[in-house]
Symmetry: C2
Subunit: 410 residues, 2 copies
């Protein structure tokens, strides 16, 4: 039985959740790990009174950094500044750091993991993807006996909420976004969510983890959901498909990776088609295990806190002989140009007498063809994006009106 002290940096939504979840489950934790653990400090720039933790608050980072009793620090400040600097200095001081900060991990993960390795401590971030849903640890531990072939996930709750409202209540994108903002699911400046940047950070973390080399956000083609119209929704619904913002990564030959974030048409048989509102889901395909899926709340105070606490406890139990998570700052040509990737595409075109004929002559027989009103839906076989685009241009040159197109998730 040993005793270890923890510090929580940040007392916003996630930070206060971490403190709450930690004390709520402390009895069970102590029994399970047979160790005595406690939170010694909570770092916040404003002082809090009237909480049961008043005496734990400090506004001075140096106090935490210089206290040898503190072995594990939860960084739940978010953003790059001052989180990046704090994390570096804590790891260099021989303290393990756990975080929900996907921006920091996606941007500086390889560097921070290297520092952690050199100082024989851990840098963990289960909460950075999928909130409370176990994803990172299952990937790095439970599925280690697999070559992971593909991962597709709904990893942004805000956009999933908006798309759910567009499909189930026929709301426009703008109205659904307003509702999400009203309910606190979307920020006043919603760009990080609706433009796909948040999902991009998360798929970078997942791709880095499974490939062992850092994938940076600027290497990943990212499309948001702002251009999706009610007509797109109606068209997808005709085929019993939905449209979801999909974070996607696939291992290719020659150790290359296909990584992208884009709204995709999702067929009804997919495990992702039925994930609604702010919920997240991730489907993993391994060569041994086949398809496994994870589902739950991808954000929120206590779900995220649940994941942070699990990382805290792994650090407490950590022995320096282990080396549970690592990736290096890899080759920057690992991620292929997205135009070299292959997908099926669903084209929605204005139907004229010859439209289908032209589509077939350009793309070959479609996997699905569906006509309604004056619209034609046509799902191509798998085709390289560059070839798709050039065929699409030819179609337009032939005078056909293409209203929209989406990649189709398989």
């Amino acid at each position: 039985m040993s005793s270890q002290k923890i510090a929580v940096m940040g007392y916003g939504v996630v930070g206060s959740g971490v403190v709450e979840a930690f004390y709520n489950s402390l009895e069970g934790i102590s029994k399970k790990i047979n160790d005595d653990v406690d939170i010694k400090y909570i770092l916040d720039i404003v002082s809090h009174t009237g909480t049961p933790f008043d005496e734990k608050f400090t506004s001075d980072f140096e106090v935490i950094l210089s206290d040898p009793e503190v072995t594990v620090v939860a960084e739940v400040i978010g953003g790059l500044k001052p989180a990046y600097d704090y994390t570096k200095r804590l790891l260099e001081a021989g303290k393990s750091v756990v975080t929900s900060n996907k921006e920091l991990v996606a941007t500086h993960g390889a560097e921070l993991l290297q520092i952690a390795k050199e100082h024989n401590v851990l840098y963990l971030f289960e909460a950075s993807v999928g909130g409370g849903i176990p994803i990172i640890r299952p990937l790095r531990m439970c599925l280690i006996g697999n070559n992971i072939k593909k991962i597709a996930g709904i990893v942004n709750g805000t956009t999933n909420f908006i798309l759910t409202k567009m499909f189930e209540e026929k709301m426009s994108f703008e109205d659904a976004l307003s509702l999400a903002q009203k309910l606190g699911y979307a920020e006043r400046n919603p760009s990080a969510d609706i433009d796909g940047h948040d999902a991009c950070r998360k798929i970078c973390i997942i791709s880095s983890l499974i490939s062992g080399e850092h994938v940076y956000p600027d290497e990943v083609h990212t499309e948001g959901i702002t251009a999706i119209t009610s007509d797109d929704v109606s068209a997808a619904a005709k085929l019993h498909y939905t449209i979801k913002l999909i974070a996607y990564c696939k291992q290719l030959e020659d150790k290359k990776t296909q990584v992208l974030v884009a709204p995709m048409m999702v067929p009804p048989q997919s495990r992702l088609s039925n994930i609604k509102d702010v919920f997240n889901g991730v489907v993993v395909e391994g060569d041994a295990v086949g398809e496994v899926a994870f589902y739950g709340r991808g954000a929120g105070k206590l779900p995220t806190a649940s994941a942070v606490v699990s990382d805290i406890i792994e650090c407490v139990k950590f022995a320096p002989t282990s080396q549970p998570v690592f990736w290096k700052d890899g080759a920057h040509d690992k991620v292929i140009d997205y135009k070299q990737g292959e997908f099926s595409f669903c084209i929605r075109a204005q139907k004229t007498q010859e439209t289908l004929e032209k589509l077939v002559s350009l793309f070959g027989e479609g996997e699905v063809t569906f006509e309604y009103d004056n619209q034609l839906l046509f799902i191509t076989k798998e085709i390289k994006e560059a070839d798709f685009e050039s065929a699409l241009n030819k179609l337009k040159q032939q005078g056909e009106i293409v209203n929209s197109y989406f990649r189709v998730l398989k």
Copy 2:
């Protein structure tokens, strides 16, 4: 960089899968754990020639036991004999043991975990529940910051296949069972599956893990699926419900646990309603994380092997300061008498003019009432099983014909 040797005991479906998955993913494993690991022995009573592993085979358990180079042993023999004796002796000799053997873990888990603890080694069994789906490790590690309130799972693929065929192709139970046997999903003697014993062992393991005290199979009320008729299927379908064999466990006040295995009516909004064929799914409710769900192949050669390999690697990386899984041989009054548990029940009765009236007077207003042909479906509010049974007897005494009833999963 250290070097560790592994032995695999048993070379049936799972054993050969372990060897295959291990070597398929060895490159990735070595990179990730920065260790040199190899399989040194494969134990089987018959000799195998023509495999790439010919020189690794031995039929002598003592060779493995007495080889100090072997630090981790995968027991994939199954059953209690000789697996129980072998496992005990290996743990006592200071070797970690990992297994897919749910019967052994459910029957002797507390004793074997105690021996492992005393000898500073691990006894792990990720593969014993849900095949390759990460469940045990997420429960003991990722969700440690939660008080787990409830778990409901489809953990037997054979019965789920049979029930899927009964619902989707209107097969009788007997025909669906025959088909499952023909396809190799069911044994010639299918009792362990269809009578619920396999699911019972799995929920015992899960319950023991989350409560910290061993729950033994004979403490768990277990019903199979043999009595389910085509009329039951039609009735459930009228409500858009399905019937699934549910392994269920709920933490109650006073550290008591409600554990049972029974076919239940599953409403369409449940994450378990859409899990088909031989697939498994487990829904976990934690006080911090809310509802999370896991899905995948619950059995089969490589999926199960995937989980065994993950345990092997955890043992390889294990440091004696950790203590990652333990439960004790608990109080035998921890599991409540199932009749003291509460459920909603769905009653299917022959409809007469007064049936509904009598139902309401005995059970109060129903949550759902549905009439078709000459049948009446009535879902009660939550009620103690003992009270349900006595009210049901009164109903019968009043001359009403009750065709069947099921617990309803909420």
